[in-house]
């Protein structure tokens, strides 16, 4: 599945925060995620990793 799942690592805990992420935009101190159906969620922090091949995941750290 090419659409991504977003995770946030906070205090060592990895939590899934959004499915079916279709778009990501960098903002001042984080990223705005948008799903295929138009739901938005702002994630504060930086990108730790993106897996384009297997999990199709984006991992953020606070």
């Amino acid at each position: 599945m090419c659409l991504s799942t977003a995770y946030v690592i906070d205090n060592g805990q990895k939590e899934e925060v959004m499915n079916d992420v279709a778009f990501l935009r960098a903002e001042d101190n984080g990223f705005m995620l948008t799903t295929l159906l138009g739901d938005n969620r702002f994630v504060q922090g930086r990108i730790e990793s993106i897996d384009f091949m297997n999990e199709h995941s984006i991992v953020f750290t606070k």
Binding site: M1, C2, L3, A22, F23, M32, T35, L36, L37, G38
Partner: protein
């Protein structure tokens, strides 16, 4: 009830969906046909519509949004349609804008989206949209949804069957089709779908039907019906005409009658 119609490419899934829709309608059900096949584009013709409905992908702003280099903050931008309906927890067919639903005597057709251009990317957005729409789709007690899937099994990988109640796998007389039916059976069973039926299609003799049934039985599949090769279906398909009034339609009606009660 939501029924997914699966099978090998060319096995007759769209024809089966069309004939099932007519048979269900005759038995008193309101029918919602969901075209979740991102490649083939003639289901609307088989059902007797001149042109397809606007695809749900336009309602989502999906690929259009993804393709915009500086993607919009609001996914509804430029879609020309209200996307809020797709964000609802529950969606009734009546909630959709009228140009996204074709209706003929309570057989309604909804299309998810098609690959239209070379290099436009993969069909994953269609898979997600199919999965989410079917999950949210609410049907009345007298309604049934019949989903025409893409050939093969990738739709299982995309989770399209997550909210499906029953799977009907169309089996034509070929080893490849039998093998795919076995795979569909395993995949559907693996996600907890209780009702999985096979229907034999394009059968030319009783001996062939018996042999196919034995092969499917050996693979753990229940045969719910047999549809013989019907030149009227072949001709209608060749000319892009609606499918109706054929011997195959009577056999599909028998199949439906064996599975669903009269309303």
């Amino acid at each position: 009830m939501k029924i997914s119609v699966c099978g090998k490419g060319g096995s007759g899934k769209s024809a089966m969906v069309t004939l099932m829709a007519g048979a269900m309608r005759q038995r008193g059900y309101g029918v919602v046909v969901v075209d979740a096949d991102e490649s083939n584009s003639t289901l609307h013709r088989m059902l007797g519509f001149d042109s397809p409905p606007r695809p749900l992908l336009e309602l989502a702003g999906g690929k259009r949004m993804v393709k915009q280099a500086l993607g919009p903050k609001d996914a509804s931008a430029d879609t020309g349609a209200d996307t809020n309906v797709l964000s609802q927890d529950r969606i009734a067919v009546a909630d959709l804008p009228s140009d996204f639903v074709l209706d003929r005597d309570r057989i309604r057709l909804i299309a998810v989206g098609k690959i239209l251009q070379a290099l436009e990317g993969c069909a994953c957005p269609m898979g997600v949209l199919s999965r989410e729409f079917l999950k949210k789709l609410r049907l009345g007690d007298d309604e049934v949804a019949i989903v025409d899937t893409e050939a093969g099994v990738e739709h299982f990988g995309r989770g399209v069957e997550t909210s499906i109640d029953a799977v009907l796998v169309v089996v034509e007389p070929s080893f490849e089709s039998l093998q795919l039916a076995e795979r569909v059976n395993a995949l559907a069973d693996g996600i907890g779908i209780a009702s999985i039926w096979a229907v034999l299609n394009k059968v030319t003799s009783d001996e062939m039907a018996t042999r196919l049934s034995q092969e499917l039985d050996r693979r753990g599949l229940e045969v719910a019906g047999t549809v013989h090769y019907d030149p009227r279906i072949f001709e209608a398909g060749l000319e892009g005409r609606p499918l109706d009034g054929s011997k195959a339609a009577e056999e599909v009606s028998d199949l439906v009658g064996g599975i669903f009660p009269q309303r």
